[in-house]
């Protein structure tokens, strides 16, 4: 059963080669490879963390944007409302003013009409007065010639005069 007994020569070479191989591989292969692997692991973890924080930042910015947008929208609608109000107010004011002006003109016109009417009446009255005086003069002249006739005349004159 020589197969179960370790052979000295192989044992010797195996020990030597394995240890040399181990130390060389450790220094020139395993250390750099493991270093690279752990570096990559770190960089991936970092990238993921950065992406996550970017995502959060993005969502924050989005929220902010939305807030601004909403504010702007509100402002716009407020301005529109204001404008509308102003417009209505202006129209109303204008209407009001026009009405007042019209009223004023009407009143003025009426006053003028009244005034002129009064003036005309006064004029008529004056004319009537003069007429009356003229009539009275004629009557007086006729009275002087004939009494009866004078009376008739006065009567006829009086009936002629129609006030209004």
């Amino acid at each position: 059963m020589d197969l179960l007994l370790p052979d000295f020569g192989l044992f010797f070479w195996m020990t030597l080669s394995f240890l040399i191989g181990f130390f060389l591989l450790k220094k020139f292969a395993w250390k750099p490879i493991l270093q690279a692997l752990s570096d990559r692991e770190n960089s991936i973890a970092e990238s993921i963390a950065t992406a996550e924080s970017m995502k959060i930042e993005m969502s924050n910015m989005k929220n902010e944007n939305e807030l601004l947008l909403n504010q702007a929208r509100e402002e716009r609608s407020m301005m529109l409302r204001d404008a509308k109000e102003t417009k209505e107010k202006m129209i109303n004011e204008a209407k009001e003013m026009a009405k007042e002006e019209a009223n004023r003109i009407m009143i003025e016109a009426r006053e003028q009409i009244n005034h002129q009417k009064n003036a005309a009446i006064i004029d008529v009255k004056n004319q009537i007065g003069t007429l009356v005086i003229e009539v009275a003069e004629k009557v007086l002249r006729k009275e002087l010639s004939n009494k009866a006739e004078q009376n008739n005349y006065i009567n006829s004159l009086a009936s002629e005069i129609k006030l209004n």
Binding site: L3, F8, T15, L24
Partner: protein
């Protein structure tokens, strides 16, 4: 790598086919040789004997020459360097072909061959002894040693190539080629072996675990190549691997580990007398032996089964030619199945060795926090 990955892959596949082709030659050729030999021995030619044990152990055992294939009487073998040390004569080094299959003595040494074994069953074929019977230390570059050095060179070029690629491409470029193939394996060892058992000190042991894993794996695979050496199925190799692990474990063990062995806490005194010897045996003999023998036995058994299945063809063939051909169908089918199984076993055994080494080291460096008054000042390193 100078070759582009596409070309080197093709070259690899071609090499594989070439080696498989060789293996069929070498597997199919023992029959005529043995037949010739046996017909010479049995002049009547009534019965043809096949020495199955010789064929199987010839393939499994370490050897001073690298037998590639045989065609008829022609054996394609690479002679390897024989290095011997004799306290009286000093070192001597020469090619194993000088022995001429054990027929000739050279510089006062000779190699034991099959004829010597027939005369004395205690002798081991292929062993080198001094003619005058004095003590000889054989540190030859045997088939296993050469195979191991090839594997180590392969590992070296593969892994330093990958390390260079990391350096060249930086960490932010996607891995490619071998880098891409090996990176998940390294990640697997790190995440499934080192981290769970070794805790926060895992990085310290990663180089050792990776060396264990890839050394065992690549040698298991090299052993599966036709003409490959049965390195990990050799007890000397697994013993060295285990000793390295054992030394690392002992040098890094902390006082809790020793405390648990020699003075298990919370156990009545009477039971301690039974438990302490069991603990000592378990930690200093059974754990390392389990590691060494498990790997050795698994790979050894795998090789033996495949070779046995192949030998079936020749056993049946020696009885009857038709039986040989029909047995070959089943034998080949079974050995193809076994080859795939062994491919799996090659990785699994590498993983199990690495995993158990990590578990045992983890037990030795584990810090116990239940008696926490001493924990703060404690350092796990020796």
């Amino acid at each position: 790598m100078i070759l582009s990955p596409k070309i080197s892959l093709k070259a690899f596949v071609a090499l594989l086919f070439l080696l498989v082709g060789y293996s069929f030659i070498s597997f199919s050729q023992p029959q005529p040789i043995v037949n010739n030999a046996s017909t010479e021995q049995h002049v009547e030619g009534e019965k043809k004997k096949i020495d199955v044990k010789e064929i199987i152990f010839g393939h499994i055992r370490d050897s001073h020459e690298w037998h590639l294939f045989s065609i008829g009487e022609f054996h394609a073998t690479l002679p390897l360097f024989v290095i011997l040390y004799n306290p009286a004569k000093g070192f001597s080094a020469f090619l194993s072909s000088k022995f001429e299959e054990g027929e000739v003595a050279y510089e006062g040494y000779r190699m034991i061959n099959a004829k010597d074994v027939e005369l004395d069953k205690n002798l081991v074929e292929g062993k080198i002894v001094a003619v005058d019977g004095s003590k000889v230390y054989d540190i030859s570059m045997t088939k296993n040693v050469v195979s191991m050095m090839i594997s180590l060179l392969l590992l070296w070029f593969l892994m330093t190539g990958i390390a260079k690629k990391y350096k060249k491409n930086g960490i932010n470029k996607a891995p490619s080629g071998w880098q891409n193939a090996i990176e998940p394996v390294i990640g697997f060892v790190q995440d499934n072996v080192a981290k769970p058992y070794l805790g926060k000190h895992y990085l310290k042991y990663m180089p050792l675990l990776l060396t264990f894993f890839f050394f065992i794996w690549i040698n298991n695979l090299m052993g599966l190549l036709p003409g490959g050496a049965n390195l990990t199925g050799n007890i000397a190799v697994t013993l060295v691997l285990t000793l390295v692990f054992f030394v690392v474990m002992l040098f890094n063990s902390n006082k809790y580990y020793w405390g648990h062995i020699f003075n298990p806490p919370g156990i009545p005194l009477g039971i301690k007398f039974i438990l302490v010897p069991i603990e000592i045996l378990s930690n200093f003999l059974i754990k390392p032996a389990a590691l060494a023998i498990r790997l050795f036995a698994n790979i050894f058994a795998g090789h033996t089964i495949i070779l046995s299945l192949m030998c079936m063809i020749f056993i049946f063939g020696a009885m009857n030619q038709v039986a040989g051909y029909s047995a070959s169908i089943f034998s080949v089918a079974f050995s193809v199945f076994m080859f795939f199984l062994e491919l799996l076993v090659a990785a699994i055994q590498a993983f199990i060795f690495t995993n158990l080494a990590a578990v045992f080291i983890g037990q030795a460096i584990e810090e116990h926090h239940h008696d926490d008054h001493a924990v703060d000042t404690h350092k796990s390193n020796s």
